[in-house]
Subunit: 371 residues, 4 copies
């Protein structure tokens, strides 16, 4: 951390200022070095300050500006001990999440195949979701997604079947064995979903809903955390940190498109964020090409690209009859199209691993089982 | 509404398609006209479809695309009856919100002076907020703001004093008479705030938190709804619609900066959104120059600009000793600086109303008292 | 095209308005249909209006708004005849550009291997560029890139060696056989580059420089047109149209990152734009992962992703000693790293073509040789 | 400037690295201080490095990252000597540009009235522009704008009357006395415009066209430089620096809206950029509400806001019959509407200066006459 000091008229008043700042740091148990650069007087802090609140430094009289050299996400950060986990000694273990049926969502740097989560945008009925569950399983999906509570921009649009949908999802799981992921938007919905759902999704619209993040952090189910549509990478990891700090270490990140200026796609899929996240955090990173593009014809190429740049899996909206979907019909693909994508995933994964590949990122490691 | 039809290989299959779409519209009680434009076959819908869900149209077999000509915010829209209000006959009445002590937040098109809301970012103690309440009142503020529950990007930063802060705010109100506005982020916090707070703020991070919007929609206190940092105008008004639909008609909109690419200001203050909103909705529109700029030196010029382009008021962060503020210290101004801004507001308001001004926007109207 | 008419107080004045608009269309040799939709009166135009200027319609008295259903890029559009080319009968032929030595940049939908263009950001000396040319050729590059004239944000930074650099590039071509691509920013530079360069690059900063586009459109050398950092897809294709309209049909598009809000990468690589462009235009589409990310560690994953989503090639900055590069050193990779990427390209291309693949996009077609 | 050093495995190799960096700085005639902060080893540079190219520092072996504390625009910067000007001794003089007829565009911090430039988007004929020149002069404009060469996104749209338009503008100037500003997009157009135009406009699309900036920098006419639609403030000032470095010190900056995600306005007017620029540079700053909003109904409120936040003037598109305008008809206002805005400007200026105002920004100063 670097503290930029206020400018003073003369050297005597600067001296006093500097003394005050050193005294302020000392109260926090910290020490610093004084340096001059161009017109600026700086004090660099020697210790690690990531878990210290910014106002502690701003409040030191004489400090004009605080420059952090390291971001504020201690637990999700790649090079950190995840104390309190079962990981034990090794700091660099990547997170693997294991469901009761053995299904895993894990960092694929170890060479495991990326996972596919699929299902309808909205659960529209028991028959529909059970039928689709069979079909997406046959096409290669390992988890079932389905919206029970739907956040919709317009209050006049379809907002989901609610609790009934949760029961339909549970039935689909009972017959297919697929673990179920579904979005929750409030404490009440967490309670409703608890008996039926294996993984809670926090949607893009609620990434900054810190009260909700704390609530799901108190549960012990895995969390699928989607990036808000204008969240920086730092904000995304700090949102994850809210969950992790409550003791729930089973967080999976999901890039789903950011808001940009072009109107031909629903959002702009930010795949370099995926490649970047893989260098910053041990958490798995998925991609949602459905919401990112909002266009059926772009789901396949963007799924391919996501896997090629290192995503640990995909979450895709599937509908038997996309035109009839009660929400987001433009982006739903058929089970057949999903099967093609699953084949693509396998082909790309195989092409980029195997004998010809020996990069540092695929170094052997023991998975950290947090379940 | 315009429905763009799928292309068909020959005119016979197109004829069938068209028949199906007309039949689909008929089931919804709607009628349409068939037209050809370039390569496209279109059916235009005759009736008002604003309160009808989009999937109803997408599901009609043969429809490729739905183009809405009018946005989906029936209640907040300028030209709508606000049925259920006390407004009575006139459709174009603008909303005025009246607090128990007679203070009003109202659409200033009628000529009333824009309002100023001020106070600390975070409530830091009883003495602090009481003292500041006196000072901002003396400087011209008509409501007191103060954060009890603070949404913070980093979980390691100061998150507010919570319930204690609510009591301090109530005390500040008791001694100064200023109504109090404070942010709530969950149902639990609404319950905590209920006895102490006169107006609930929904922060920018929670504008898409539809569960929370519905909850505050069920209360009968005025709501200060801030625009999310990448919300379109349509999304902003649709968020307001969630509150209005629950029967709470006392909604005040607040522009607080959007996310853009430049890093020299915290956000980009979107003042044309303010001017635009004044043409679209009867709800009052405030501006928060503090969060928009994040820079103390830009609060005054941007406050002036906000009033000049038609904002109905300002909400400004004030601190006695900005450097010592426990949150957002870079953007806090002193009570003295607030007094200068209050004088600016008065000067600009006077310059732009009075004899020389007779635009259609300042036409006489009876205020719609929704309290 | 749809014309939205102004609202009128009564049906008589609306009738007059409608007559006027029909008369206005008739003067342009066009016809329309009158329809009513909600409160709006519309006239839909029957004919194709893509090559007609917008003001012709705005000027018709009574027209409030013009909605185009088809974009204004007639020549680059996928479904258009490229009259004047040697393509002959088939409208859907994709463009292939052929250099004197047989190297081709072509739409890879036909199954050809994506191309790699590589070389230093700036030409720094004869020895450097000749040496690098050998190395990037050995690593798999088919064209040599190198900046002679460098657009730099700061006028105090290194702006390239100018004409001397062009001669060094020519020498590198002479010894390696690699065709050379280099950026031009003015007519004068086009003249300077003419004897030495095989393909002119129009950089992102000049995509809206229509005078320059017209100038290179008058040459008969292939053009590498980079997308401006906040250009919409429509604007990008319309910029290409400026070149095509001058009779130069050898245009290659290049996505190189758009401006967004996150600061951890130089730009945001918009790969869905690549997939989208492949559905809209017959022109080849390349990706520049170097400028898009600005980070050496992200070049490889994003190169993989680009090829996976259908890019027809890559343009990558290479330096023997990246730290010593006189411009953009953070994003330069070594020749060895380039060889890894070339192997990736081959592996992904093979994985996604071959027996298992039979999508409509890889349908057989005869390449359209425009040289 | 702060240099962040590469991490090394042990202290011996770090010592060597540090020695190398100090040696590298010494070669540049610079000195530094070594400090440790958290895990990072830093060397802070003591001297002013603004006019030194970045690659000089990146090339020093051992340097991982260069952090500039001051931006790279030495001449436009507020606190710099404008050596070579007639300003003489005082460094903080603000720029005033004086035309032959006595008209001035100047920094209004001195209390002068903001200037209004007005005229048609495109010159459409001699009669039109002469007639409009009379009318905008009567309404309060001090310069006449008019497009002869029009950059248009679609090559199929009207691109201006070219040289003939320049003669019409000259005629309009002859009869009204109003100095003329018109856009140039190439060297050739500069030559064409030279006899007829008093101020060259560089449009938003050409702000990054450094060759053009250098060309107009070689002329001795005032330049109106518009901000590119996604230019940062730093890039904007660095573009100005290209002109200033050629010895032309008569640069006027113009904010005209940035590209954002909302589609209801053409661009997003960034007024905080105006307030910010007034703290960073001595150059005058104008606002173009016409291109920023693209909507006739928002020109007046945004003109008011621009003046209120400190803009030194406005440039506004006016047409006698906006519907008939051959370009940008949606944003043209009538001469009558311009007169209202001129009255607003005066009213706001008077309200915010005069007796009640005594801020530091309106401190007395001698205008720097650069003509």
């Amino acid at each position: 951390m670097i503290l930029v000091l206020q400018s003073k008229a003369n050297s005597a008043s600067t001296d006093l200022l500097v003394q005050n700042v050193f005294a302020g740091l000392a109260k926090l148990g910290l020490s610093g070095n004084l340096v001059q650069s161009g017109d600026e007087t700086l004090i660099t802090v020697q210790e690690d300050t990531r878990a210290l609140a910014s106002h502690l430094f701003n409040q030191i009289p004489g400090v004009a500006k605080v420059i952090r050299l390291a971001p504020q996400y201690a637990i999700s950060s790649f090079n950190q001990d995840k104390s309190g986990t079962t990981c034990g000694a090794t700091a660099n273990n990547r997170t693997t999440i294991k469901f009761a049926n053995g299904t895993e969502i894990s960092n694929t740097a170890s060479g495991s195949l990326p996972i596919i989560i699929a299902g309808p945008c909205s659960v529209e009925g028991k028959e529909q979701v059970v039928d689709l569950a069979y079909k997406v399983k046959a096409a290669g999906a390992k988890l079932l997604r389905g919206g029970a509570f739907k956040p919709r921009t317009s209050p006049y649009d379809f907002r989901g079947l609610g609790k009934a949908a949760l029961e339909y999802l549970a039935e689909a799981k009972r017959v297919t064995g697929l673990p179920v992921v579904s979005e929750v938007m409030s404490c009440e919905q967490i309670a409703d979903a608890e008996p039926h759902v294996d993984m809670y999704q926090i949607g893009a619209r609620n990434m900054y809903n810190y009260e909700l993040l704390k609530e799901v952090g108190k549960t012990r189910k895995p969390i699928l955390l989607k990036r808000a549509m204008s969240a920086t990478i730092d904000e995304f990891l700090q949102a994850a940190e809210y969950i992790l700090l409550e003791g729930n270490l089973q967080v999976v990140l999901c890039e789903r498109g950011i808001r940009s200026f072009d109107t031909q796609t629903r959002n702009t899929l930010d795949l370099s964020a995926v490649a970047l996240l893989k260098t910053l955090t041990h958490l798995p990173v998925l991609v949602d090409p459905s919401h990112a593009t909002g266009r059926r014809d772009l789901i396949r190429p963007m799924s391919r690209a996501a896997i090629a740049c290192g995503a640990d899996g995909l979450i895709i909206e599937v509908h038997d009859n996309p035109q009839m979907a009660m929400s987001d019909h433009q982006q739903a693909i058929t089970p057949n199209a999903l099967a093609q994508i699953a084949a693509d995933v396998q082909a790309i994964h195989q092409a980029l691993t195997g004998d010809r590949e020996s990069t540092t990122t695929s170094a052997n490691h023991e998975p950290c089982l947090v379940v």
